[in-house]
Each structure stands twice: as structure tokens, then as C-alpha cells.
Symmetry: C2
Subunit: 344 residues, 2 copies
């Protein structure tokens, strides 16, 4: 019976290998999933955009031909004109690197939005940009997750208060309530931003909504960029402040929703070591429980058993299955703060 | 002695409030930190880029003036020429919306790189893009975290094997080993990519490195974009495949490093509920332990005490401080699989 040490090691190793195979299978499945998703996306974008691209190309070639015939450009001159036009584009929107513009750029770096409406022209600017991002991006991730957690806590309080006001007998905020509230908050944030930018930028509501979506998901194509009209960066400080605030608050709302849904999923995914460790612990505890019951002693004081079961209740995510008596004990104690999955 | 239920609730509420105040203070500190970081960044970018911007603007204005004098453009015609040049830019790089280009675009969407070298021109393309991102971004997050965890597991195995080969007596891979290995892997990924893109795109090594950095941090300005030269998307399938693989593998390496460093920090940050819950549990357990010692019974069989202490050893992140005897028990048992912080 006491060949335990090597037996325990063997069980641990087997459990760990099984958990690692499971994790590798999960990873392989996700890779296949992503590849399929990319293939489907490519096919659909091809179908939606390819024909329009061809038409635009033909139209542009025709217009270019008309201009070249009208002004009789040489090929080199025309190429030079195009290059000039491209380089002049950011300047047309006003000064991009004064303090307001640099602040805007710094936001697009650390949030990884990266519109590209302005990008460092000097090599020293590029070097500083890289170091700035290296420290700024993790700092931003942590800040938005922290802000998002606070926002979730606030929403939870408000929902609880609302349920109490509605006179519900045992008001309790479920995970589903939180997800629905999060979705509504995201939709409202996008809609409000769309209305504001449609007004200030002269875009259609749809284009403004698309801009807000692409910004708050940090994709940041740069096909639509706020603060580029009428030298707004220098001339409209309130609108500049609103745009910055909107981006930062909007990212908080999205971060809160991600915190609620995705990060929890990431953080609770079984890692092989933890799963194997848990399995090995389960085997050891069951073996000892069998020995106790068969047992050396019958005098197990209730407080000790109670302590074991309380510990199991307090750590539901990391404990082996409870005995039916322990489960009953957990549920029959209304004063116990309900063990909740961690939020960040 | 048995006024416990209201006493327990009071302790839980006080603990929860204290934890929430602590979390709010932490969030406020992070906000101040970020704002300061943005202000400092804005000042530095202003200093580095503003003067160069003014020089470029003057140079462009002079060249524009020369062209306008040479060809005698009207103001409208010149504006129209500039618009044509901007619209023609993506086409100059070749077809952007054939299958290869669409696949490239789909990658930039779901990874949130979002260069913007191509962006949906049609409204239906924009709508599909938003839905595509809505599902694709979380899927990508989960996939890269999973891949990153597998990569970390592989690196851990290799380091362990290397330490054994070096004949170390008790080979063990520490967190510091993993962080250093992660940093080296990131640096190597960037350097290799820089060498490759410098060769294929004709960029300097520095610009290629900058491109890889901006891509793998998913900032994606779009000032440097691979596969835009010599119609590479249609004419160089091996280079296209290499570019796609580089982006996906590079993001895996970065994801693994983030998984190792940042996500663990995010996931282990005390949430108020968990902290309060833990404090309340600590109080309850200590109270019961005092009752046991003062005690109803002196016959606590060793197996039961052992079970308690084993449970504490197995859950070091979530257990109250152990008694000195229990700590000794944990450390004196060499066969125990060492409880490790979870990796994802």
C-alpha cells in the first residue's frame, strides 16, 4: 500500500501528458479554424470588392489619360506629381506634429490603432516610436483592463440596484445580465460616436459608425480619420478634446466587454500543468479519503470535516468534486458570500 | 460565540469594500500614469518631428509651385490631379482585391494590424468587414494565446533539456529563464523578418525592422507595407506565402511573450470580489482552527491533518498562510509535483 511515492509520480506524469495532448489538440483545432476563417473572408472580400476595384481602376486610368493629354506631361513629371500629391496629403490636413497632433499620434501608437495619417518621417522619430510603443502598449493594456473591471463593477452595482427597485425577491446579477448590458453599452458607444463624428466631420452616419468601429477595435485603417478637416487639430480644441476622450472611453467600454467575455475565457482555459496537477491531487485525495474511511480512526471531529468542505466551497474552480453532503452544506448556507469567478 | 452569521457578513462586507477601494485607487493611479505617458510622448514627438515636417512642407510647396508654373494648372485641376494620385496609389501596387490581396486584407483585419493599404471601397464591403472583425478578432485572440501557450511549453521543455545536458544537479526552469528566452525569441523574430523584408522589398535593414515591429505590435501604420512592389501579390506566390506565415508566426511569438508576462499579470490582479472573498474565508478558517485547537476533540488523525495541509500545498495561490509545520511538510516532500502558477 505504501509504494505511493513512485505511484504518485506515475499518475502525475500520465495526467500531465494527457492534459498536454488535449491542449495541443485544442490548439490545432483553433489553427484550422482561423485558416478556414481567413479563406472564407478572402473569398467574400474578393467577391465584394474586386469588381468595384476594376471599375475604379478603369475610371482613374481614363481621367489620368485626359489630364495627360490636356497638359502633355512627360511620364517622369507625372510620376513626380503623384509622389508630390501623396507626400502633401498629411500636410493638407494641417500640422500633424504640433503638440495636439503629436498627442493624437501618441494615442494611436499606445492603443495600437495606428491610423497612419501621420507617421514618423525621421529615423530618430521611428526609433523613439518603437521604444514608446514597447513600454506604452503593455501599460495601456493593463490600464484599460483595470478601467474595464471598474466599469463592470459599476454596471453590476447599477443592475443590482435596478433589480432591487423593481422589487425582485432575490435580486442577483447573472453573467447573462452582464453580457447583455455590455453589448448594449458597446452599441450605444458606437452609435453616439457615429452621430458626433457624422456631425463634426461631415460624414454619413454609416461612414462615421464604420470609423468608430474600426477605431475602437484598434484596426485603424486610416481611410477615415477624425481631426483632419479644416485644421481641426489647431483650430478646434474642444472637438480635439472630445475626440481624444471618445477614443479613450470607447476603448474602456470595449475593454470592459472583452474583460467580461474573452479574457475570462483565456484565463480559465486549462493549462496542462494545472490540469495535470489537479488530476494528480484528485487521485491523492481520493486515495487518502478511502484510507480514512476504511480507517485508522473513526473520531473525525465535525469541525475538521466542516473545514475541508468549506475549503472546497471556497475554491470551486480548483477543487475536486464535492461529496453530496458537502454540496448540500455549500448550498444550504445563505450567508456564505457566493464564490464567484474572478473578474479583473 | 455563536453570533457568527452576522459577524461573518460584516467582515465580508468590510473586506469587500476595502478591496474595492484598493482597486479604484490602483485604477486612478494607472489613469494618471497613462495621461503622463501621453503628455511626455506628445512633447517628444513634437520635438523630433515638428521641424522636419515644416521643412518637408516648404519643400513640397516649392516643388508644387514649380509644377504649377511649368504646366499652368488651374487650382481645381491641380486639386483634381492630387485626388487622382491618391486614389490611384493602391492600384499602383497591383490588384488589391484578388484572392491573395483579399487574404492579406483579411489577415490585417482579424489581427487588428489594419495597414489601410487597401480598405473596402463599397458599403457592402465595409459592412462585411465589421461583422468579419466582430467574430474574427476574439477568435484570433484565443488562437494566438493558445498557440503562445504551446510555444511557451515547448521553450520550457527545451530549456529543461538543455539544463539537464549541462549536467545541473536539480534542473529547473525559472520564470526569469522563460522571460529571457521570450525576449531573445522576440528579438530574433524581428531581426530575421527585417533581414528578409530588407532583401525582398529593397528597404534598409532599419526600415524593415521598423516595419516588422509596427506590424507585430499590430499598430500597422501603413507607411511601410510588404507585398506592394512589382505586383508581388500576383507574381510572387512564395514571397506572399512567406509574408503571411511571418506575420502569423511573429504574432504567435509576441503573443507567447505577452502570455508569459502581461496576461499573467492581468489574470492575477486582485479583483475586489476575490480579495474580499479570500479575506472572509481566512477569518472563518482561523476562527475554526482556534475552535479546533481549543477544541471539542484532541483525536485528529494524522491523515486528516495531512489532507488539510496537502490541500494548502496544492493551492498555494488561494490558501491562507500555512502553519510552520505544514510549510515544512510541503518543502520536505521532494516527490510532490511543484505547484506552479498557471500558464495559458
Amino acid at each position: 500500500m505504501e509504494r505511493e511515492p513512485s505511484g504518485r509520480t506515475e499518475i502525475s506524469t500520465r495526467s500531465r501528458r494527457a492534459a498536454m495532448r488535449k491542449q495541443s489538440a485544442r490548439t490545432a483545432a483553433l489553427i484550422l479554424c482561423i485558416l478556414s476563417y481567413l479563406l472564407v473572408g478572402a473569398a467574400v472580400f474578393d467577391a465584394l470588392e474586386s469588381e468595384a476595384e476594376r471599375s475604379r481602376q478603369r475610371l482613374l486610368a481614363r481621367k489620368r489619360g485626359e489630364f495627360r493629354r490636356k497638359y502633355r506631361f512627360s511620364a517622369d513629371d507625372y510620376r513626380e506629381l503623384e509622389r508630390l500629391a501623396l507626400q502633401a496629403e498629411p500636410h493638407r490636413a494641417g500640422r500633424q506634429w504640433r503638440f495636439a497632433g503629436s498627442f493624437y499620434f501618441a494615442i494611436t501608437v499606445i492603443t495600437t490603432i495606428g491610423y497612419g495619417h501621420a507617421a514618423p518621417g525621421t529615423d530618430s522619430g521611428k526609433v523613439f516610436c518603437m521604444f514608446y510603443a514597447l513600454l506604452g502598449i503593455p501599460l495601456t493594456l493593463v490600464t484599460f483592463q483595470s478601467l474595464g473591471e471598474r466599469l463592470n463593477a459599476l454596471v453590476r452595482c447599477l443592475l443590482l440596484a435596478a433589480k432591487r427597485c423593481l422589487g425582485l425577491r432575490r435580486p442577483h446579477v447573472t453573467a447573462e445580465n452582464m453580457v447583455v448590458a455590455g453589448l448594449l453599452l458597446c452599441a450605444a458607444t458606437l452609435a453616439l460616436g457615429a452621430a458626433a463624428f457624422a456631425h463634426f466631420e461631415g460624414w454619413t452616419f454609416f461612414h462615421a459608425y464604420y470609423y468608430c468601429f474600426i477605431t475602437l477595435t484598434t484596426i485603424g485603417f486610416g481611410d477615415f480619420v477624425a481631426l483632419q478637416r479644416d485644421e481641426a487639430l489647431q483650430r478646434k480644441p474642444p472637438y480635439v478634446a472630445f475626440s481624444f476622450l471618445y477614443i479613450l472611453l470607447g476603448l474602456t467600454v470595449i475593454g470592459a466587454f472583452l474583460n467580461l467575455v474573452v479574457l475570462r475565457f483565456l484565463a480559465s482555459a486549462d493549462a496542462p500543468e494545472r490540469a495535470a496537477h489537479r488530476h494528480a491531487s484528485v487521485f491523492r485525495r481520493r486515495a487518502r479519503a478511502r484510507r480514512i474511511r476504511a480507517g485508522a480512526s473513526s473520531c473525525i471531529p465535525y469541525p475538521v470535516v466542516h473545514q475541508l468542505e468549506t475549503w472546497a466551497c471556497d475554491n470551486p474552480a480548483f477543487s475536486p468534486p464535492l461529496s453530496p453532503e458537502a454540496v448540500h452544506h455549500c448550498h444550504s448556507n445563505p450567508d456564505r458570500p457566493r464564490a464567484r469567478r474572478k473578474s479583473i
